[in-house]
Symmetry: C2
Subunit: 264 residues, 2 copies
């Protein structure tokens, strides 16, 4: 199933959408967080009539399992250029996710340009390490996206952590599916956790909050991505992400705050 | 008026709070965005019964002027360790701000520690440049906080932009007022815009969205702060902030997305 179909929403009442968490988009049974946020984004862009989530924040309340959900959208303001709305996703009245977004049409974006950062330096995709989905680890979700990890960041699969809490690599969708602004939201949470490369006894990092800024529209082909954690303190960590077009333009930034449970 | 008093909220109905945007917390007549978000945070922490905004996002809909506002808080989930709620601030039924936050008690935070960043290197506060409020520029808001800017970043006051879109300096509250997690939310938006140091024809950058992560509790004294913009593209910019205790511990991170209007 394409990402577009797996994030489809259907209006069933005033501000109320029906969607389905598809099977196979999970990590150990729980739906990927970026995927859930993209469903909420689809409902918000539909409700506001603006095509692109410019900035969206999700707070995660409970794990999402395959099956039907509702998304209730509440528009706070709808202007000519921007609209702002919150949304809550529920499964059987159990809240899974609250989101807050401002939407716009990125095709019309223009302004002065100054960039003080370069894209990540990555070997070409064939020289990177493909992440292949399994029933356990790597998780089924990895079958819904195509990742090629920087070889220096991929040793953790064989127990060799790089010691640097980062993940760099290429992202695209299978079967040549085009990447739109909603798919970029998925991309901001599609890579293995940065902490898999830290020398710490941490096995998983459930997301508390994820914010994505969509700064431009993707061009066809692989996207260059880099995720990095600088602060693991007090039971939490942040992970900062950048997503770049093949032509060297930044198209998304993300930051998430995650829990750092002690393992075992 | 102390920051604590200027952000006070009073419960007036189920989930509904009354507050007052105080005079003198403005930039050119519009209330500072971090100040408005701190009022929303006060309502959310009161409603959820958790003392600290761990992560809070605000989307700005209309400028805030001095006078009464209401804040309606909607709790999505209240757990033992975390609670999540959204809030909308209105003046005369006109929405000013929508916020989404997860709250906790940071006194109980613990976990493994790994930090890959150092605090900003700043001259001692007496060797930095004090920002003094005026009726115009610097704006009245600067009288509500105490800022000491790094001399390399303060030349813009005399028309000498550093060429680097960043602002570094010290923050504290006047009259020895203690800084709590809510005041940290103010600190994330208290410095002059980073773009004042860029060689671009940009005079102001209205905030679309501001997210603050409160990662620790402040110790008494000056806080070391650094704000930096890396991507000015397509009519938007991001500004990333870090706030550090005097003892060298990171206590807050922030990122905002702002509009980059062309000036004149």
């Amino acid at each position: 199933m394409s990402l577009h179909d797996a994030t489809a929403v259907e209006l069933i009442g005033p501000g109320r959408y029906r969607a389905t968490i598809a099977a196979g988009w999970d990590i150990a049974g729980n739906a990927n967080g970026g995927y859930l946020l993209a469903i909420a984004a689809r409902a918000i862009t539909d409700a506001t009539g603006q095509p692109d989530p410019l900035t969206i924040t999700g707070h995660y309340l409970a794990p999402g399992r395959p099956g039907p959900v509702t998304v209730d959208v509440d528009i706070a303001r709808a202007g000519r250029r921007h609209a702002t709305a919150s949304a809550i996703m529920r499964a059987d009245d159990r809240p899974l996710l609250v989101a807050l977004a401002t939407t716009t049409d990125l095709h019309t974006a223009s302004g002065p340009e100054r960039v003080d950062r370069a894209p990540p330096v990555l070997p070409a995709p064939p020289d990177c390490v493909a992440v292949v989905a399994t029933d356990t680890f790597p998780p089924p979700f990895m079958g819904q996206v195509e990742l090629r990890l920087h070889p220096d960041d991929a040793g953790f699969f064989e127990g060799r952590r790089s010691g640097e809490p980062r993940m760099r690599g290429w992202f695209r969708l299978p079967h040549g599916e085009p990447i739109d602004a909603h798919a970029l939201v998925v991309a901001t949470d599609a890579f293995p956790p940065t902490v898999f490369n830290a020398d710490l006894p941490v096995a998983w990092t459930p997301t508390v909050e994820l914010t994505a800024h969509v700064r431009g529209l993707p061009t066809p082909g692989w996207l260059a991505c880099a995720f990095r954690t600088r602060f693991i303190t007090g039971g939490y960590l942040e992970a900062d992400g950048e997503i770049w077009n093949g032509d060297g333009h930044l198209i998304a930034q993300s930051r998430q705050l995650a829990l750092v449970p002690r393992s075992r």
